[in-house]
Subunit: 590 residues, 2 copies
């Protein structure tokens, strides 16, 4: 249908006849000549249609933006080259112009930035925009580079089911009623976790899959009801085997796709260190700000807001120095206080060092008066605060202080342009095995219930469950958890003990995970692995904040596909066949 | 955890210490020595444990089949080599033996062929069998070869949604209730058909995806509720562009994966010819038998069973000669008659040529007496029947005769060992655009409603809808439809006309396919593509009849996963959140 692609014609074709197909990107009709920029996925070509060519010129008069046309003509040198265009030194003098399809009443022009609902409704128009084409290509390139590397390393790409059993791994399942088995349901997988473990028990040794996963969660801006992960699993490995391998994998894809050379060795940090220094288990190391614990300095002060938590083993008093930020206004600080409040802060104490040389007189702070000279001096020493700096303080329960001070660190780093333009990967390790859920009064798994603890001894785990550390690990990049994994439990007794500690009784464990327990008793090898969030890595690589820019047909935050209008109502007979009925809406609670 | 893989140790390692991990494949305990064949995904290694090594020998005493063990020891030359084993010239003299996991009360031994339910329930054991490992590897290799080729050809691998809108394409949808939108449902895609068309309208030019598809059908042995297809689409193409490309693709993967060189040019056959000569739209060309139309020869005979259909434009009288099969017994023929009856035959006339030279006296047939000499001679000439051959006859409605004679052809070809051991691909083209559904009294689409007709003129299509031919095409291999595709409708007026002819009214078209019609009006390029059935191609390549051998976790014919026990009941609160209730079972109709 075409001999060449629009974006690829060049001077080597001068004098040759070519046939191009594409979309009308721009159109200039003059009395004696028409100029059409024709666009395909490779780029633009200028087409010239002269009045002498009656038939073609008549067609030109009918054209509009985004019409699909086929043009045959001769390539010639352009009188004045357009440097901005790859094809800018040539043009096609049209011999024949044919409209393959019209485009009328465009809801928006391609060079506009319409609102996101409009983009989603007319996704086919939105994706024609060169920036969308480029971002989607980045994703394709990422997935291709991942596959290549894994194929070469002897991994087997194996598909696991989408229609599967409800296995509670934290989030809500999407359910699918069975027609053949009335009253029974499939669940869409939250991840292929158990299937990949079973594959290791089936002797596959090294497995991967670009796997679709589903979580029926209330969506935040960066979540989708269905998302894609690179799922990996290895038999007969320990932590470092997995980590070293995937570090090389990630370095490889950044090199291939972005021509970026990541650190030769990724830094490693325990969960405890990450929370202490950065107030986050996914620290953004591009921001050169750190939390400092000052409890020792303020244990003895009268000021209970500080000394209370400083003397409480479950408390924390942390300081965050921001260099050169003494210039922050009262209003700025009020804004930050409000922001920290969202993360649980009851207030935000601060201290500006107007002039370090002047001692206490050079300090501007509502809380300085509560600190004796020794305490003040120690705080200044510990934080390293100098003239022109501001120090923020957080005091209270350990987790709350850590969270809001971590959030504040990110916010200040961004607001003050302190985010380095670089790639900062790291490993976070030694996660707690369990978190105590105060509401449910029981332990919950920090990773998932199949993560192995560091201790091999079951009695020891039971005795110290509250402080037990798991064999889980996360890969973090620029403040995003891009991958998470663990060494799994491979002994049936340990798996049963962990279920028990999580409050999953024997009967429940058997009903939900019976097949896993059975498989563990029939020759399960030690194994471990990891899953990468493809949408997020693609977005990072494509340089966009939104994963929706690297998903062809994403859903809105209310889980709708605006283009096809899904979900939608279905017919009564369809539901009857599936043995379900829509439940009458219940009145909202008062 | 290991230094080498069991199946890869060789004489170059003699004298070296190695550590192997694997499963106990076989075990021979003697008074002074124990032999363990240790298995991993690469194969077997013989481990020798001598009594002098007290600790190791004690562990050997505890071992059983399928235990997972770690062995450290020295590689040495074997006294008597085992030719059947890749590692048969060496063995490992164990220094240390460690049990990593036990395997007790195995439901079956790996060398057994347990029934399929048992295989599915303990899929992790079943898949450890070397033949399953090999078949699954063939699938992996197929998918990898497909991707490589398509990546190199500039196709973009783009994921389309799994949670989507119900789009009736023939089969029943699996539905997913929405929690956020009470009373509304997503559907799992029967194929990414509309999304891939939209991608062409979005300017992607060439797309592929290894896509999971879902059909809630009553399952036959070779169907699965979820299956995998290679989905391809091209912008700005015509039939031959697609066909030539995918022919090369399929040739490439057979060469890569099976070292088989397929025909340099695949034969091409219209739907009409395939039905006429082979009684099937997916003819198995490995069987050298053909149907012959003999209506002209029997139009004038008294025998109404033949002359009736012979004179009816909607009838067919077909003959099938089977060389050398005059030896078939009455019982054999009764069996074949019963078989043909399943496909609609009311009876099966036959004619044996005992001795052609003897004329009518050399013919043994219950129907010969109804044929005058001219008719008999013509039948013999048309079928080419000679001494020792049998000819079967089918007479009646065109479709019925074609179906049962086609089925008979396959059955006889198999029974009589006439299936060539070869690969016979072909294209079937020129499918009818519509089939008339007698029950629903309306046209239904033979491919799907988005397939373009050969005629461009809407009035012409409307006038001759019953005989209109589509731009669809199937790739057939050894009697299997392995791929099907078409050039799609890209003009909105034509799409509306086809919907109309299919009895899909304007309101329904708008509700179900409004987004497609809208997209067609906003600059849709001509486009077409194809989808390959990956499960079937993998099964063919792996040399198995059952697609379940190339699916890691297949479902039974009643759509159950016996390993995880899905589908299963879910809790009331879960259903309540999804705004559905299980409908009370209704009493079966009398």
């Amino acid at each position: 249908m075409r001999t060449h692609l629009c974006g690829l014609i060049d001077e080597s074709l001068i004098g040759q006849d070519v046939t191009l197909c594409g979309w009308v990107n721009t159109l200039r009709l003059q009395s004696h000549v028409a100029f059409v920029d024709l666009r395909d996925h490779e780029g633009l070509a200028q087409v010239v249609i002269e009045r002498e060519n009656d038939a073609a010129f008549a067609v030109a008069g009918e054209l509009g933006y985004e019409f699909v046309v086929k043009v045959t003509g001769q390539v010639r040198k352009r009188l004045s080259a357009n440097d901005k265009l790859r094809t800018g030194t040539v043009e096609v003098l049209a011999d024949k112009v044919e409209i393959l399809n019209a485009a009328r009443d465009l809801p928006f022009a391609l060079h506009e930035s319409p609102n996101e609902d409009l983009r989603m409704t007319y996704r086919y128009l939105d994706m024609r925009r060169p920036e969308m084409q480029k971002m989607m290509r980045t994703r394709t390139a990422l997935v291709r580079a991942l596959r290549r590397y894994l194929d070469a390393a002897g991994f087997q790409d194996i598909e696991t089911p989408i229609l599967t059993k409800a296995t509670p791994e934290g989030a809500r399942d999407y359910l699918v009623p069975s027609r053949v088995h009335p009253g029974q349901f499939y669940a869409l997988p939250q991840s292929p976790q158990l299937f990949k473990q079973i594959l290791m028990m089936a002797g596959f040794d090294r497995y991967y899959q670009i796997a679709r996963c589903f979580r029926d969660e209330d969506l935040r801006a960066d979540r989708q009801p269905e998302f894609t992960q690179l799922d990996l699993e290895f038999a007969f490995v320990e932590e470092r085997d997995v980590q070293d391998f995937v570090e090389n994998l990630i370095r490889h894809v950044f090199r291939e796709v972005r021509e970026v050379e990541l650190d030769a060795v990724f830094p490693r940090m325990t969960y405890e260190e990450a929370m202490r220094r950065f107030g986050s288990d996914k620290p953004d190391l591009r921001i050169p700000l750190e939390l400092v614990d000052i409890a020792d300095a303020v244990k003895h002060v009268e000021f209970k807001v500080f000394s209370g938590p400083a003397n409480d083993p479950a408390g924390r008093v942390a300081a965050l120095r921001v260099p050169g930020a003494a210039e922050l206004s009262r209003k700025d600080i009020d804004g930050l206080t409000e922001y920290a409040a969202k993360y649980g802060a009851k207030g935000l104490a601060w201290l500006k060092v107007d002039d370090l040389a002047k001692g206490r007189d050079g300090i501007n702070s509502p809380v300085a008066k509560f600190l004796d000279d020794a305490a003040l001096a120690q705080v200044l020493t510990l934080t390293g605060a100098g003239t022109g700096d501001i120090v923020f303080f957080g005091a209270g329960a350990w987790k709350t202080v850590t969270d809001f001070m971590g959030a504040l660190r990110i916010r200040l780093g961004r607001d003050r342009g302190m985010v380095e333009n670089s790639w900062k990967p790291l490993w976070v390790t030694d996660f707690p095995m369990f978190e105590y859920d105060e509401e449910e009064k029981r332990f919950v798994a920090l990773h998932h219930p199949f993560t192995a603890p560091k201790v091999d001894d079951i009695a020891e785990l039971r005795a110290n469950a509250g402080v037990a550390v798991s064999r889980g690990y996360d890969m973090v990049l620029n403040g995003n958890e891009i991958g998470g994994g663990s060494i799994r439990i491979h002994r049936p007794e340990m798996q049963s003990a962990v279920f028990d500690l999580l409050g999953i009784g024997e009967a429940e464990a058997e009903a939900k995970f019976g097949f896993l327990l059975k498989a563990l008793r029939l020759g399960a090898p030690p194994h471990g692995g990891l899953a990468f969030g493809i949408d997020r890595i693609a977005a990072l690589m494509a340089g966009t904040e939104s994963i929706r820019d690297v998903i062809a047909f994403p859903k809105t935050t209310s889980a709708q596909d605006l283009m096809t209008d899904a979900p939608s109502q279905v017919s009564e007979p369809q539901l009857k066949e599936l043995h379900v009925r829509v439940a009458a809406a219940e009145p909202a609670k008062a």
